[in-house]
C-alpha cells in the first residue's frame, strides 16, 4: 500500500499467534491492523473503530464466522470481508457467499494472493 493512504484492517481469528503474525506482516505493508481473538471481541471493536476491511476466520468457539458475518452485514452493510479458514464446509461456503464475502483463503495462506485481493478490495472501497 502507498504511504499516506493507510487503510485499516481487522483480523478476527481465535488462533492468536496466527492472527498476530499475520497482522505484523500486513503492518509491514503499511496497513493499520488490529486483532480480535473472538467474534464478540471483534464486533465490540467495530462499534468503536470500523475498519476498511475484515479478515474473518470461520470456525471459532462461541460465535462462528457466519454469525459474525451476519451481524456485520446487518450493522455495517457491505464492508469488505475476506474469509481465512482451515476448512469451510459447503454449507458455510454457500451461506458466506449469500452474505457477499469478497473471497476465501485457506490456511496455511498464500500470502501474496491474500494481500493482492485485500489491496484490491481496499481500493474499491
Amino acid at each position: 500500500m502507498q504511504a499516506g493512504t493507510q487503510k485499516s484492517v481487522l483480523i478476527i481469528d481465535d488462533e492468536e499467534d496466527f492472527a498476530h503474525t499475520l497482522a505484523e506482516r500486513l503492518s509491514l505493508r503499511n496497513l493499520a491492523v488490529q486483532v480480535a481473538c473472538s467474534g464478540a471481541e471483534g464486533l465490540a471493536f467495530m462499534e468503536q473503530n470500523l475498519p476498511d476491511a475484515l479478515l474473518l476466520d470461520m470456525r471459532m468457539p462461541a460465535m462462528s464466522g457466519i454469525e459474525v458475518l451476519r451481524t456485520v452485514r446487518q450493522k455495517y452493510g457491505m464492508l469488505p470481508v475476506l474469509i481465512i479458514t482451515g476448512h469451510c464446509s459447503q454449507e458455510d461456503h454457500d451461506r458466506a457467499q449469500e452474505l457477499g464475502v469478497q473471497g476465501y483463503h485457506s490456511k496455511p495462506l498464500d500470502f501474496k494472493e491474500l494481500f493482492e485481493q485485500l489491496v484490491e478490495v481496499l481500493h474499491q472501497k
Binding site: F18, R25, L28, G86, H87, S89, K107, P108, L109, F111
Partner: protein, 204 residues
C-alpha cells in the same frame, strides 16, 4: 456414532488443528523473511543458510498443506455422510493420498483432468478406497518405474470415468472388479489401461 464416523470426526478435527499450526509456522517464517528483506539482506556469516532454511520451511509447509487438505476433505466427507461426490475432486484427493505409496515403488503419478467435474452417485470414501486400491494393484506388477497416469472426469453413457494407465500392468480382473464394485463402479480392462466406470449422479 459408528466407528467410521468417530474416526472421521477426529481426523477432521486433528487435520484442521494441524492446518492452523502449519499456518503459524508459515507466517512466522515469512515474517522473518520480510524483516530480512526490509533490512536489505544484512551481511552475516552463513546468511545464505538462513535464507535457504526459510525457503525450505515454506516448501515443506506447502507440501504438508496439500496432504492435509486431502485428508481433511476426506474426513469431512465421511463425517458428513456424503452419498455423492465429484469424481474429479475425489480422484485428485486419492492421488494425493496414494502418491507416497507410488513413490516408494519408484513410480511417478500424474493426474490428467479430462472434464472439470463429474458428479457421481457414490460416497467419496468408497471411491477413494477403490481408486487407491486399484492404483496400488496396478503398480504391484507392471513395468519397473513406468509412469502412472490417472485420467479423471470423462463421461460416456451416463457414466463418469477414472482411467488408470500403467505400462505392463498385469491386471487381476476378478479382484479389480470387486474393488470397483465396493464403490458402486465397474471396470473395463485393456493392456496397461484400467477404466473404472461410476454412475453419474444425475443419471440415477
Amino acid at each position: 456414532m459408528t466407528d467410521k464416523h468417530f474416526m472421521a470426526k477426529n481426523l477432521a478435527s486433528s487435520t484442521h488443528e494441524l492446518q492452523n499450526i502449519l499456518a503459524i509456522i508459515k507466517e512466522s517464517s515469512c515474517l522473518v523473511e520480510d524483516v530480512l528483506q526490509i533490512n536489505g539482506k544484512p551481511r552475516m556469516k552463513h546468511g545464505d543458510k538462513l535464507y535457504h532454511s526459510l525457503e525450505v520451511i515454506g516448501e515443506q509447509v506447502d507440501r504438508a498443506k496439500v496432504l492435509l487438505r486431502a485428508l481433511n476433505s476426506f474426513a469431512h466427507a465421511v463425517s458428513d455422510g456424503a452419498q455423492t461426490c465429484d469424481l474429479v475432486e475425489t480422484g485428485k484427493q486419492t492421488a494425493q493420498l496414494v502418491e507416497r505409496f507410488v513413490r516408494l515403488k519408484e513410480h511417478a503419478l500424474q493426474v490428467v483432468v479430462e472434464n472439470g467435474s463429474a458428479h457421481i452417485a457414490c460416497p467419496p470414501e468408497e471411491v477413494i478406497e477403490a481408486l487407491h486400491s486399484l492404483i496400488i494393484q496396478a503398480i504391484t506388477a507392471c513395468t519397473p518405474k513406468a509412469p502412472v497416469l490417472l485420467r479423471l472426469g470423462a463421461q460416456q453413457n451416463g457414466q463418469a470415468l477414472a482411467i488408470i494407465e500403467v505400462a505392463g500392468a498385469a491386471w487381476n480382473p476378478e479382484e479389480m472388479e470387486q474393488l470397483a464394485a465396493k464403490a458402486g463402479g465397474s471396470v473395463v480392462l485393456a493392456p496397461g489401461v484400467c477404466t473404472v466406470q461410476f454412475p453419474c449422479a444425475a443419471s440415477l
